[in-house]
Symmetry: C3
């Protein structure tokens, strides 16, 4: 078994499971393809026939209207046939195993699976199992990875800031439980960002995170000093009431992004957030709706990036 | 802010939020467009490419399989891409605001939102907020309005009775809680119906309803006397057991449409109902399945009317 | 009313409600049409325009992700517009009758209904009611029938074993509660299988099942002796804990298909299962994943068979 099942013997991407292990050239080639789809999404007829007659399955074992919708839209713009499967506890309780479910859908003629699962490694597990012509995209697995989110984030940064080799970037919040943070860190280090920081309370930063190539800050004002990009993370509701944090209000006081704290960043710094927003918890509305926020462009570029990934994977299978 | 956000500076429809404020010419132009789609729905290939590549979002904050399906079918017949979003309590409890949800979907490239919401005014709120190229159709907001229902009702009447200026029409039932009744009253008064009546018990008629241009009847036999059209309303289940009514049986006795009561109307009167039917509560099966009922034609015309509204709105955006 | 509402006056299929009453020539003609679609499903662009502009409603009163998905895929490959309606307790509790629901969807322009319902006879009931141009496919009604499953099973057998007139076939498991078993028995007897057996405990075999043209075995080793095909049935979870069986473990010991028991069949016997699998209950993983299993080809052929049925029915309506 190859150590990285998402690359074939020629180093070409055949699944997208994680950004870990992808090099800068490969990431830039995905982003370049995404650039070509930004235009499609602004056209009157937002549709290209690239994946006509392909069967794409949204295989969501964890509920997510938002992410599922972005993949559905991306697939429909490529003219693919999309089947949405929200496989909750009820279906799995029929006793069928995960791989039996996947085998059955493959037997129905699936060309691509978009997989979200609460278990880290679920997408890898499926990718290792399926027949060689089938493609798998990880749409979030446990705390592990959310690679299309990482890609749309670096696509957004490239659009606004161009040269990654000159940037200072801070990722702020609950790094510990965030698959988004992991994918962002892998993407930004691969792209050569020289000053990458993570900012958060000790209880929400994983031990040894420095080994990923980031500097750790517990004080937000220091962490944001002179950065070009502030990447906020969503604070999951269960953390606000959990043992790791005193309260949502206390969190906002120290790590909520306010106009005052944002002043520590460069004047032209951009503010990002993967959504959905907890206004008044990790971000102040004045910032979220302010001129430095690029949160909605992230969503827009997310469609183009997902179209790019789907097209590249499908192309590699033919 | 314009007093009527659904009309642009030239008086052209850019959203459909309510029938209130639409004049007869505009309503007839919608109905004329709908006429052209009646034929499409009778063809072997029930499809036209008018909205190809457009992204239409069914944004339903209140569950409604039936209405959602009619919009989905209408959009697919126009070759649009439809995304269904049933946003129940769970999604909203993720803490995202209504406008953040809308902004995100707009950022994904939405061209049109079909909105149903339990709060009156929700569709207006969204229409005021979205970018100018995005269209909003109100598919029912609280007790306020359900304009496509109103339009399909007058389309049906026009098909069967031609000249609105000679008609006597009775709307029967729970006027108080009915957005359907409000939209019907606005449509019929705009179209110049000279004798428009509402019939129901005092507890289900709103105070001052006469100001909308209707005459009030509490006795159904009087209310139906010599009318051309009987428009029944659905009695919501919660009313049957509520403090406003003694019982469903009592209601049927006084306001249920039976063959005997229908005899008070003109011999060629038509009977309408927005569905779903409560047989034996507001309508007797002998009437619902009888020769004067046009309840299923209403459903058929509803597809054509929704295709017309979508096409007109989409056309006004280009 | 015709005794068999699925055949028109010329003996042509206008609905597919049950395999009972279909003759060998008709079944073979369906299978021949399905053969032509196997190729479509192996193409790069898995799509043909045969049902373009047709509106097909998946009308599922009983939840079933898997079967619903196979019909959805089949319809999309034929370029039809598919609307999925999962009508659970909530919608029916709005008080609308089954026929009112059907009438409404027909009024929206439905061309075909795919119906699953927990009540035996539901699809017949709907087929008798709808207008002559509308087609109905039974996707499982109570314990009565699941004809497309029966057809895909005989399609699979024909592919592997060619001549039905020389075969010995055993159907094993809970015959009593299985609509799949009923449809398989009707198909195999119509196709002239000379040695058809049912195998299971007394408590799971219906009285008088011999009248359908099968031989009854309670001992599995005897029942499998020299058969060409072993058709396993899924043991519903509720049976495992119910009064009819001591336990799932005890069931497996006597009726679970293990490599040892399979040795009693012919060396080239194939093993079938309608899914989802209860591994370790009715089938051992060594068999399910072994070289004699054709369980996933059944799924693949199921798409082609459903495309064939939809095409033949739609063709008969024009």
């Amino acid at each position: 078994m190859a150590p990285n099942p998402q690359l074939d013997d020629n180093g070409k991407l055949c699944h997208l499971l994680t950004i870990e292990g992808l090099n800068a050239a490969l990431i830039h080639s995905i982003l370049d393809t995404a650039e070509s789809f930004v235009g499609v999404n602004e056209r009157e007829v937002k549709k290209v026939p690239l994946l006509r007659g392909k069967a794409i399955f949204n295989l969501f074992f964890e509920p997510s209207t938002r992410t599922r919708t972005t993949f559905e839209i991306a697939a429909k713009r490529l003219s693919a046939d999309v089947v949405n499967l929200n496989i909750g506890a009820s279906s799995q309780s029929k006793g069928e195993t995960l791989l039996d479910t996947v085998d059955n859908l493959a037997a129905m003629g699936a060309d691509m699976f978009i997989v979200r699962h609460s278990e880290s490694g679920a997408a890898h597990f499926i990718a290792r199992h399926v027949a060689p012509h089938i493609r798998v995209i990880n749409a979030g697995d446990g705390r592990h990875a959310h690679p299309t989110q990482g890609l749309l984030d670096v696509f957004t940064i490239r659009r606004y800031k161009k040269d990654f080799s000159r940037l200072a970037i801070a990722i702020v919040g609950d790094i510990m439980h965030s698959r988004v943070a992991r994918s962002e860190i892998h993407a930004l280090t691969a792209l050569g960002v020289p000053d990458l920081r993570v900012v958060g309370p000790r209880t929400l930063l994983p031990q040894g995170v420095e080994e990923l190539g980031v500097r750790v800050y517990h004080d937000m004002e220091q962490g944001l000093k002179d950065v070009d990009v502030v990447m906020m993370l969503r604070l999951q509701n269960e953390r606000m009431r959990g043992p790791l944090l005193p309260s949502a209000g206390e969190y906002f006081k120290h790590y909520g992004l306010t106009p005052a704290k944002l002043k520590r960043a460069k004047p032209d710094a951009i503010v990002m957030h993967p959504g959905p927003l907890n206004r008044g918890v990790e971000i102040d509305s004045a910032v979220a709706d302010g001129p430095q926020a690029v949160i909605l462009p992230q969503v827009t570029y997310g469609i183009a990036v997902r179209m790019a990934v789907m097209t590249l994977l499908a192309g590699s299978s033919t």
